[in-house]
Symmetry: C2
Subunit: 587 residues, 2 copies
């Protein structure tokens, strides 16, 4: 049992002005951390205590699947040269020289070190599989450290590496990590989604990120109840169903005068239709890579449903461009002989194949089966009705290049997509032979032949778990309050003696805390000589999920139980505190 009066818990009424996201503010206000420099934090008693609890959970689950190592933060340059990453890491890696002038770096990750051990120590397939993990401090020279513990220059990572004799083995190691990570995050009380972080081009899930939705995050993801989840850059969806317009006239493209109406909304209003009945036209200049067969630059035109937006990551991938630049009105006029605002599909000559020169015309897949659409007429102040893709124009390629929308159906079962910012808490990745090949690791296989082991790499950001939990809770509780899941809170329960000057209350508080302690709960007794209001505020601020208030009810054998996770308060009998906390913890 810990006594608040003996502890160093420097709570603050207000967060420093430069603290932006909720977890940053709250970690400072609750006395969990203090900043030492840009992206560098000291973890005080409460912060370290939460970190230790997270580490213990991670270690317990990882011990079930692998062996714990501890690898050095200080790495000689040579080992990073061997993999070719000394240069790749650029300014993100801290570098230094020792007293003899030898070059060192502070490791951001440990693929090189484990591969070095593997190439020196592993000789036979009989020694495989291996899963090696560590819980260790990483260093990264973030260009813009911010957001408290979310983007720092020194942090704790659980990193793990697997070595297998073949891809089937790697699948097993990868799946073990997938399962362990789900257990870890669940035990830590997080609601998470696992996101396919790969293009899928390698066939199957070669990389997954574990994400927690929060406005403090820097990634955008889409997910649904079906289990589908993806970064917005890769997310796909079933577009909402639209009833096509009836044809007008003879059903072929028909000019309609739209004087001064250029945007989707202007045209919709003028023609009394909906944006989803229009074709939106986007024109880009693609700057191609050095080895391009279609010239240094090429025009790219994208046709989308009027209410859709183009996803630049998808467009980059489809176009094979190094960079995409929206065309200026002048460029549009020069290239297509059509005025900006009235550019449309009919008359734009499409390259016959993405790898042939000419304009790359992309039709977004959501328009593939549509008809009688409204589009620019490539003539000032005119649009066309009755435009039907396929019949009236042929794109170079029809493919998904749009951003999914909140509420659209997920590709698995059509259940509605949730879109939002998220923070990454873990990552599992089938590395393949990248390091074992470049660094020359090799074992004899069953047939006595030299074989390169295949690797996986897996990471969990320890502090990310804490910050994600705080952000999630703060978002639910209104931003200025939060409660941590009991498993990772610095204490499970706080016993607040509302007035230590009252001998009966003091005695009851001591007794309750001692009973909870004896029952194995992690209990903090607030025995400070402070006003009850101050103590309640502090208890809320430090995020402990359960509180027992020892107040005047003691005279009638009652104390108050406050469950901050469910916001349910109730009076309970003095001798029911252990049972109440046990029930809350197993709920």
């Amino acid at each position: 049992m810990h006594r608040w009066s003996q502890l160093f818990i420097p709570t603050l009424r207000e967060a420093p002005a430069d603290a932006e996201v909720a977890s940053h503010k709250l970690l400072l206000r609750a006395g969990y951390v203090r900043q030492l420099g840009a992206g560098i934090y000291s973890y005080l008693f409460l912060g370290n205590r939460s970190v230790n609890k997270i580490v213990a959970i991670v270690r317990q689950e990882m011990d079930r699947i692998g062996q714990e190592f501890l690898l050095p933060a200080l790495n000689p340059r040579e080992i990073w040269e061997a993999s070719g990453r000394w240069d790749v890491m650029g300014d993100n890696m801290f570098r230094l020289k020792d007293r003899k002038g030898a070059e060192l770096c502070l490791a951001m990750t440990h693929e090189e070190i484990v591969t070095d051990i593997a190439r020196k120590e592993l000789r036979s397939y009989k020694q495989l599989p291996q899963i090696w993990y560590q819980i260790q401090t990483k260093f990264r020279d973030e260009p813009r450290p911010k957001s408290g513990l979310l983007r720092v220059r020194q942090f704790i990572m659980k990193d793990a590496y697997s070595f297998d004799i073949d891809e089937a083995g790697l699948d097993v190691s990868y799946n073990k990590h997938d399962a362990a990570y789900r257990k870890i995050f669940t035990r830590c009380g997080l609601k998470f989604v696992s996101v396919d972080a790969d293009s899928g081009a390698m066939g199957g899930s070669a990389s997954q990120e574990f994400m927690v939705y929060t406005e403090a995050g820097e990634d955008l993801i889409a997910s649904s109840a079906s289990g589908y989840a993806a970064n917005l850059e890769k997310a796909i969806s079933r577009p909402s169903v639209v009833e096509d317009l009836a044809p007008t006239g003879d059903g072929t493209p028909e000019l309609v005068h739209t004087p001064g109406f250029r945007t989707i909304d202007e045209v919709s209003a003028f023609l009394q239709t909906q944006p989803q009945h229009q074709i939106k036209t986007m024109a880009f200049t693609a700057i191609m890579g050095a080895d391009s067969k279609v010239g240094a630059e090429r025009p790219v035109v994208v046709f989308l449903r009027g209410d859709h937006t183009v996803n630049e990551a998808k467009l980059l991938a489809v176009s094979g461009a190094a960079e995409l630049r929206p065309m200026t009105p002048e460029e549009i006029e020069t290239t297509f002989k059509a005025p900006a605002g009235y550019l449309g599909p009919i008359g734009v000559e499409a390259a016959p194949h993405p790898k042939k020169p000419g304009t790359l015309v992309i039709l977004d897949a959501a328009l593939a089966d549509r008809k009688n659409l409204i589009a620019g007429a490539n003539k000032a102040e005119y649009h066309l009705r009755n435009v039907t893709p396929g019949r009236d124009f042929k794109p170079t390629v029809t493919i998904d290049v749009r951003n999914v929308l909140e509420g659209e159906g997920c590709p698995i079962d059509g259940s509605p997509l949730r879109l939002g910012k998220a923070v990454e808490i873990g990552h599992i990745f089938k590395l393949g032979f990248r390091y074992t090949k470049s660094m020359g690791a090799s074992v004899l296989n069953r047939d006595g032949k030299e074989t390169t082991p295949i690797m996986g790499s897996y990471g969990i950001g320890i502090e990310r778990i804490l910050t994600a939990a705080i952000e999630t809770s703060a978002a639910e509780m209104g931003g200025d309050a939060y409660a941590l899941p009991a498993a990772i809170a610095p204490f499970e329960v706080v016993v607040t003696i509302t007035n230590v000057g009252d001998a009966a209350l003091l005695a009851a508080g001591e007794k309750v805390a001692a009973e909870l302690d004896a029952a194995g709960f992690d209990v903090l007794l607030d025995d400070r000589d402070e006003r009850a209001g101050v103590k309640f505020k502090d208890a809320d601020l430090v995020g402990i999920p359960y509180r027992i208030n020892i107040g005047r009810g003691v005279a009638e054998g009652k104390v108050e139980f406050v469950n901050r996770l469910t916001a349910a308060n109730k009076d309970i009998a003095l001798d029911q505190t252990v049972a109440t906390i046990r029930e809350a913890l197993t709920a």
Copy 2:
């Protein structure tokens, strides 16, 4: 329960040629560690496991007296400028620049960081005392990294810092650490001595080092069963009692011809006396500090008992010199008009006071009450008999300046001194106001006055505990073998199935291991398909203290219990393994 067949334990038949000390060789051979660079090691499964066990013990004992923090390794230059140590640390501190050119260092210790927190957060004596500790990676650019984990450039330290309102408070914090350290080292199974690391001039024990005797150590210490222990530089003793020679002639100094006999041994043999009946003369030139009142240099002559040697650290302290240089024979002749080899006390004019100019003549305290000694006569080929200090010559000062000798009586109760090399495993230190003053920490005392808190600083080298335990055990077991104390061994007990091809042995081994595991012991089952000899060797090599051999005796319900700590092997009944291990662990 862990299965050896599933683990990565790369044992080696031989240690690399550059491994010198036993712990270095054995840590490599046992697959505990692998070297990545000079003074930089990777801890593999077994090494990390031992480290984790040590950390758990340290954390448990420290949690009883203080609060755990976690402070950053990456420190901005400014904070080290604030204390003045940015320059003091010199080449021992790793320094680097970030992407913006800001200067950082890798912390060797954290006085600056905790004092920074204290000065910002502590306002009142009511918040004191505070004891803050952490278990964290430290970096030190050792000029000559060597000896495996004994002198490395990256290591784990438990460092702690106390803040108190006054010296009485500091005494309490210091004593808490003293007691906790003793518990920690005892629980880790180490035989240690605590050494007064201070001159004692401050009155009382302001600094203690906890040391373990080992030839691999770099300090020299003396200790006795009374609890007395000191660095050789500071150790004192009761000299062995010598019966003085009877006077010759009229008992006054009498010339004796000693042609060609210069050394103590030559003169002893020639005069048929013992070295302890002689006065040994040592002459030095003291190079004094810049503010010296006795000139830039001064002669220093030391008179010691013939069988004693001068302790340079003590002599430096007594002489107040910056440096001491033995005089050449020419200098002796010029300074004292006496030939080297025949220099003696009578006729050497002593400065009247250490702070007055002239020759500083020091009589070692062991000669204070002696009489009828033999000494050089300041005349070629002559010595004097019947020399009695005090009567025949007056030194400037009589004081202890000699090295203690093995077996001499300790100053406390005369019990015999043990002398030897030792390694430091911990250090507790009353820092005083050094950092709180220079960095401006201050709290209001009981009377509302600004007061500077007083600090203590305390450290334990985590890996040092492991290496000291291995060195100690290897020294006892012959250098090539060792067994770790059960509390810090990677496993408490290994169950060795001598032949996994024998179904009965395999089943018995599985059963025994499962029973031990269920009883709460940390057990390793050697289920590898290897010859028994290989398995025994490996088991010995990894230092597990207890082993159960599952061999042919199983047919008669017997297994062999091997206690490597006591070298006692015995057959026990199959169902007695749990009881046997329990007994061994509590012995």
